[in-house]
């Protein structure tokens, strides 16, 4: 195996193995802000 192939395998191994230790989810989850555009009924007095 030539040196370039060895280097390529090391690089690929670093990236693929890195995924095993990376966080599964964001460390902080911000609550979603829901914006309602529905109009509220307005009472109209006669």
């Amino acid at each position: 195996m030539d040196p370039t192939t060895v280097l390529a395998l090391i690089c690929s191994g670093l990236v693929f193995a890195g995924w095993l230790v990376l966080p599964h989810a964001p460390t902080t989850v911000k609550p979603a802000v829901v914006v309602s555009e529905e109009r509220q009924p307005v009472s109209v007095s006669a």
Binding site: T4, L7, A8, S12, G18
Partner: protein
């Protein structure tokens, strides 16, 4: 010399692929700027496509590829495409019409100054941009193209390897971008307000189109439809993918989340880095080059942020540093098993090639820095480089072009 129909068809199709890269770059950059500047950012790329298309046939091609003068520049014998006909030029591409070669090279000349526009996005006066682009193409791009690719150019004679433009396209544009960012100064509100991309989907689409066009950029540089083009195609795709994976992984580790824009930027960094090497390295070399691009370009952005240089769209980090890494890596991983007409690199027993690549990188950096600085100062004497504060706050779409990008939506 006999014209080969297959080679000619391939090179013409690749010229069209490379042409697409410039508007694709406009969309890549356009998504990254604020809503009030998207149209002006896209216009930079679109306008340069038009400007350099004309400059190239008038005098650009002659300066870059015309008969050599002092190993530094092409002569004026080919101005207006005089003597550039349909008979193949044996020195450049012996199986296709000379004009097909000229056209293919035109698209490289087009995209290079367009790359720089990312550095001064959101603040450069359009008139200054027009003057700068014309002068830069003539006095920076054309000479470097002649040094590296022109028959008789001094880096060409030295044996520098640059298959598709690591030095000519990416180092020249990336380093010039850094100079432009320093000369123009930071955008109003830099470091105080958010410059978040206004449309990341546009950027990812632009990156995908760039990737597509890059097959023409690199595989077309074989100038024939055969094994060398196939190798360039394979290593281009591999390096782009590896760099995207690497960048995403590094940013995931650093910022705790896998960035979508990071994956797109990583792919572009990989494409940049494999560009000079694509006709000289094998697919294992491409994996190493892609990995290196993902790491060094990401680190370059961290450095750029730390020293507070407002290279708005990170042209220096991706193209300048990515191109430098690719040019140097060509001196490490090149092998005559891929291209018998070239040379081995350090890993294949030829350390001298690594030194030659270093000289080519240094010369490209040096000329780009000097040339760009002088041109910017000259242009500034004629027309101010930056827009006024009010124009910058209003946005360049309205202040420079009088058109909003999205009708009915406030540009801010």
């Amino acid at each position: 010399m006999k014209i080969d129909a297959g080679d000619t068809a391939w090179v013409l199709a690749c010229a069209a692929l490379v042409m697409l890269m410039t508007p694709a770059l406009g969309f890549f950059y356009g998504g990254l700027v604020r809503r009030k500047n998207v149209l002006s950012t896209i216009m930079h790329s679109f306008f340069i496509l038009c400007l350099i298309s004309v400059q190239w046939v008038l005098w650009g091609y002659s300066l870059a590829f015309g008969p050599d003068k002092f190993h530094l520049i092409g002569g004026l014998e080919w101005v207006g495409l005089n003597n550039v006909g349909f008979t193949p030029n044996a020195g450049y591409a012996p199986t296709i019409p000379h004009q097909a070669f000229m056209l293919f090279q035109m698209m490289f000349a087009v995209i290079t100054p367009a790359l720089i526009s990312g550095a001064f996005a959101e603040r450069q006066r359009f008139k200054a941009f027009v003057l700068f682009s014309l002068l830069w193409a003539t006095f920076v791009y054309d000479p470097i193209a002649h040094w590296v690719w022109g028959a008789g150019g001094w880096l060409h004679n030295l044996g520098a390897l640059d298959f598709a433009g690591g030095t000519v396209v990416h180092i020249s544009s990336g380093v010039s971008a850094l100079v432009a960012a320093l000369v123009l100064g930071r955008r109003l509100g830099f470091g105080k307000q958010s410059f978040a991309p206004h449309d990341s989907t546009m950027t990812v689409l632009g990156a995908a189109l760039l990737w597509f066009g890059w097959f023409g950029f690199n595989a077309g540089s074989a100038l024939s439809a055969g094994a060398l083009a196939t190798n360039a195609f394979v290593v281009t795709n591999t390096a782009a993918a590896m760099a995207a994976l690497t960048w995403m992984t590094v940013s995931w580790w650093h910022k705790r989340q896998p960035s979508v824009l990071g994956a797109a930027a990583g792919a572009v960094a990989g494409l940049v880095a494999i560009t000079p090497a694509s006709g000289f390295v094998n697919v294992m070399g491409a994996i190493v080059i892609g990995f290196g691009a993902g790491v060094v370009c990401y680190l370059a952005i961290q450095l750029r942020e730390r020293i507070r240089v407002d290279d708005a769209l990170d042209v220096w980090a991706v193209h300048g540093i990515g191109g430098t890494w690719g040019a140097l890596a060509t001196g490490l991983f090149a092998t005559v098993a891929i291209n018998s007409g070239a040379a081995n690199g350090l890993f294949y027993g030829n350390p001298k090639q690594a030194l030659i690549q270093l000289v080519a990188v240094g010369a490209s950096w040096g000329w780009s820095i000097i040339g760009t600085f002088v041109i910017l100062k000259v242009v500034n004497l004629i027309v101010p480089l930056r827009v006024g504060e009010e124009e910058e706050v209003l946005g360049l779409d309205l202040s420079q072009h009088g058109e909003p990008a999205y009708a009915g939506i406030h540009p801010n």
